[in-house]
């Protein structure tokens, strides 16, 4: 082995040892529980029957039952609607806000900080804020509607508005994320490009579509993917605002898994639901990584 090769091998060995502690922590806090979840999903484990945790006589039984469970299928559909509309609004509004606030002034800088508040609040606090807003007896929204002699329906218990109410609250909470990402991207665009376009006679709309948008498009895609993965975590809002109702109108998959595990005690079946959800999220995550790599390759 040459001296250069030996140095390279030593460097690789060092890298492996340096990474080892992080990998061990990751293994303990992520991989082991995930494997346990997968194992339990292969059993009919019931809280009332502790022995069933080691019953592997029909390992795929839970997975075979899932497609025939209308609440599970409905929960996937509800999750899809919540994720699609939530992410769409967060990206569009976050981008619009970033474009509006992409100027230099003290007021705008203050406004930027102000807009970040919802994202840094604990999710349960966000849920409480929206609970107050959506409760007709105490809500300023309903009070204002009353002054205008308009009888607003109860949004969180209405078939037509319950999911929208959740989407609005979720958008309010996470819009700052896309706002921040897009704002950072906007700040990297050289001003000369816009100035050159202006000199060439382009109007503001044309500058946005032909100069700004191509620059921020990759960031928009990445933000959307991240938000898509995160949209599965709307649990506190649903738990506090609607309880998955009315009926199953806002019952997303993780809330259904929660009810199965902790209300009905069906840990095995709930784990199977969770594993399916995990696989879906993993698929989206791989999508994000693929887009990231493709972008790197293009640039």
């Amino acid at each position: 082995m040459t001296e250069e090769g030996s140095i390279e091998a030593g460097r690789r060995r060092f890298n492996r040892w340096a990474l080892a502690p992080s990998l061990i922590v990751l293994l303990v806090i992520a991989v082991v529980p995930a494997l346990y979840l997968l194992t339990i999903s292969l059993t009919p484990f019931q809280l009332v029957n502790p022995g069933s945790a080691t019953d592997f006589s029909a390992p795929l039984r839970n997975y075979r039952l899932l497609p025939g469970d209308p609440r599970f299928v409905n929960s996937l559909w509800v999750q899809a609607k919540l994720s699609f509309w939530g992410v769409l609004f967060q990206v569009l509004l976050g981008m619009s806000l970033a474009l509006l606030l992409h100027t230099r002034s003290r007021f705008v800088e203050f406004a930027r900080t102000f807009f970040l508040i919802p994202m840094v609040l604990p999710p349960i606090v966000v849920a409480v804020i929206w609970k107050l807003i959506y409760t007709p007896d105490i809500s300023p929204l309903y009070y204002a509607a009353g002054l205008l002699h308009w009888t607003m329906p109860s949004l969180t218990s209405s078939v037509d508005f319950a999911l929208i109410a959740i989407i609005v609250a979720d958008t309010w909470e996470w819009l700052p994320f896309t706002f921040l990402m897009v704002l950072a991207a906007l700040q990297t665009i050289p001003e000369e490009y816009s100035e050159a376009a202006l000199v060439d006679g382009a109007n503001r709309l044309q500058i946005f579509f032909y100069v700004t948008l191509p620059f921020i498009a990759p960031v928009l895609v990445i933000s959307a993917m991240f938000r898509l993965i995160d949209s599965v975590k709307a649990f506190p809002l649903i738990f506090l605002l609607t309880g998955g109702g009315p009926g199953s109108i806002t019952e997303v998959t993780n809330y259904y898994a929660y009810l199965l595990a902790f209300d009905s005690g069906e840990i095995g079946y709930s784990s199977a639901v969770t594993v399916v959800m995990l696989l879906l999220v993993l698929a989206v995550s791989f999508g994000v990584m693929w887009i990231g790599r493709r972008r790197e390759a293009l640039t």
Binding site: N49, P70, T135, V159
Partner: protein, 454 residues
């Protein structure tokens, strides 16, 4: 010599012996180590217990130092929010853990825990006169409140510390009198009173909350149906019986037409607040949620409120009741010490002190509920709330145990389905019949999935 010896001894030793004896007496009084060993058999034991946060335990914590002083043990009582506690305790007991020496046996988990053999048989303690004196008297607990904690053979796995008797609170009797309406005694009259009051003075006729699996069954039973075919022996759900359909339509009609906007998302607190402020006229719920209408400083309707039995159905008059109990996990490390604590916490003396010193009324000892002190404290505006509480609480033990549906381990699975069905009917997603047909189908499927033979 002989006669003088005692004299000598008496006289010779008298000062020294007297001093020694005095010192010994003083020492024994100051450092009574052997006495501690005898009267404090649990010295050095730390007892770990868990429950959900409840006023009872907040009050009990004031007295626990006295118990620790008497017994020598230290009590580590962990109190969590209701859902958190239930999840934690359920997991702990189901996994055969021994982290807790005593636990709250939540009403709806009682049957599961008893059936799965997760709790210690307390008869072994009560039947031993060395462990339980006769005055403690296990028979003193209201029988209806004890039903969930007994197995089919009659063995006891818990003793109730809290009773909940479903009663009806009316906040605006003044409005009702103005309109010539009387207290409703039947379901039909309940509907009439709700219709008569709703909208008057901005008052809603009725209010309820999101735990429909607690609120709906008395209507199902009132119309002659049940949640299961013949619980606990036969747990086939009967949610799509004509009586159950009639009940869900009746109850949904009250919520749709006479309750505040958004009532299906109301928590118990919101419903109580609506009654206490007079924004809603009728709330039917456990006595501990209703009695503040007459007794709480928060209440704005003390002078116009009444608390009575919930109306009877055309077939049955079955107001719901429940209780919370204290029990000992099968794998607890300090079972005897845990029993000592339960015995003390639920003793007639502590129960009476809770009543007298704190006005805490939802206890389950008959002798205390029937005492003069209890009656005096719980008679408001001429209404004997204690008598009403006892009357409802003991109903399930008289004749048919109609609350059996709620004590079977299958109930949580079916209860979840009931909640969904009521919401679907109230919001107009499905008719009563369709919702209950779907609920029946779902309940059967879920029970089969959970391995229940039907």
């Amino acid at each position: 010599m002989i006669p003088t010896k005692p004299i000598q001894a008496a006289s010779g030793v008298s000062r020294r012996r007297l001093l020694q004896a005095g010192a010994a007496t003083f020492g024994a009084a100051t450092f009574p180590l052997p006495a501690i060993a005898q009267t404090k058999p649990f010295a050095g034991v730390t007892l770990h217990g868990a429950s959900f946060q409840h006023h009872f335990f907040t009050l009990l914590q004031n007295y626990i130092p006295e118990f620790e002083e008497q017994s020598g043990m230290k009590v580590d009582l962990q109190l969590s929010a209701f859902p958190v506690y239930n999840q934690q305790a359920n997991l702990e007991l189901s996994s055969g853990g021994s982290a807790f020496d005593f636990v709250n046996v939540t009403f709806f988990l009682a049957a599961r825990w008893v059936a799965a053999g997760l709790l210690a048989n307390l008869d072994e303690f009560t039947s031993d006169p060395n462990l339980t004196p006769a005055e403690w008297n296990p028979k003193d607990f209201v029988e209806g409140a004890q039903v969930p904690y007994c197995d089919a053979k009659g063995a006891t796995y818990g003793y109730s510390w809290e009773g909940g008797a479903m009663v009806m609170g009316l906040s605006r009797m003044d409005l009702m009198e103005k309109k010539g309406l009387k207290i409703p005694r039947t379901f039909a009259e309940l509907q009439q009173v709700c219709a008569g009051i709703n909208g008057t003075d901005n008052v809603n006729g009725f209010v309820s909350f999101q735990l429909h699996h607690w609120c709906l069954p008395p209507y199902i039973q009132g119309f002659g149906g049940n949640v299961f075919r013949n619980p606990p022996a036969d747990v086939m759900p009967t949610l799509n019986s004509p009586q159950a359909v009639e009940a869900v339509e009746f109850y949904a009609n009250l919520l749709k037409n006479y309750a505040p906007r958004g009532v299906i998302t109301y928590t118990e607190d919101q419903a109580r607040q609506s009654l206490l402020t007079g924004r809603s006229n009728i709330l039917i719920h456990s006595s501990s949620w209703i009695t503040p209408t007459l007794m709480s400083d928060e209440s704005k309707v003390k002078d116009t409120a009444r608390i009575v039995r919930m109306p009877a159905g055309p077939v049955h008059d079955y107001p719901a009741s429940n209780s919370q109990g204290l029990g000992i996990p099968k794998n607890a490390k300090n079972k005897k010490a845990a029993w000592e604590f339960i015995k003390w916490a639920l003793s007639p003396e502590i129960s009476m002190r809770l009543v007298k010193e704190h006005g805490h009324s939802s206890i389950c000892r008959r002798s205390v509920i029937e005492s003069e002190a209890y009656r005096r404290l719980n008679t408001v505006n001429g209404q004997d709330l204690g008598a009403l509480y006892l009357e409802v609480l003991e109903l399930p033990a008289k004749g048919e145990n109609y609350m059996a549906y709620r004590t079977v381990k299958e109930f949580p699975i079916v209860g979840d389905v009931i909640n969904k069905a009521v919401e679907q009917v109230v919001t107009g997603q499905l008719s009563g019949r369709d919702a209950m047909n779907a609920a029946q189908e779902q309940a059967v499927a879920n029970l089969r999935r959970a391995g229940t033979p039907l």
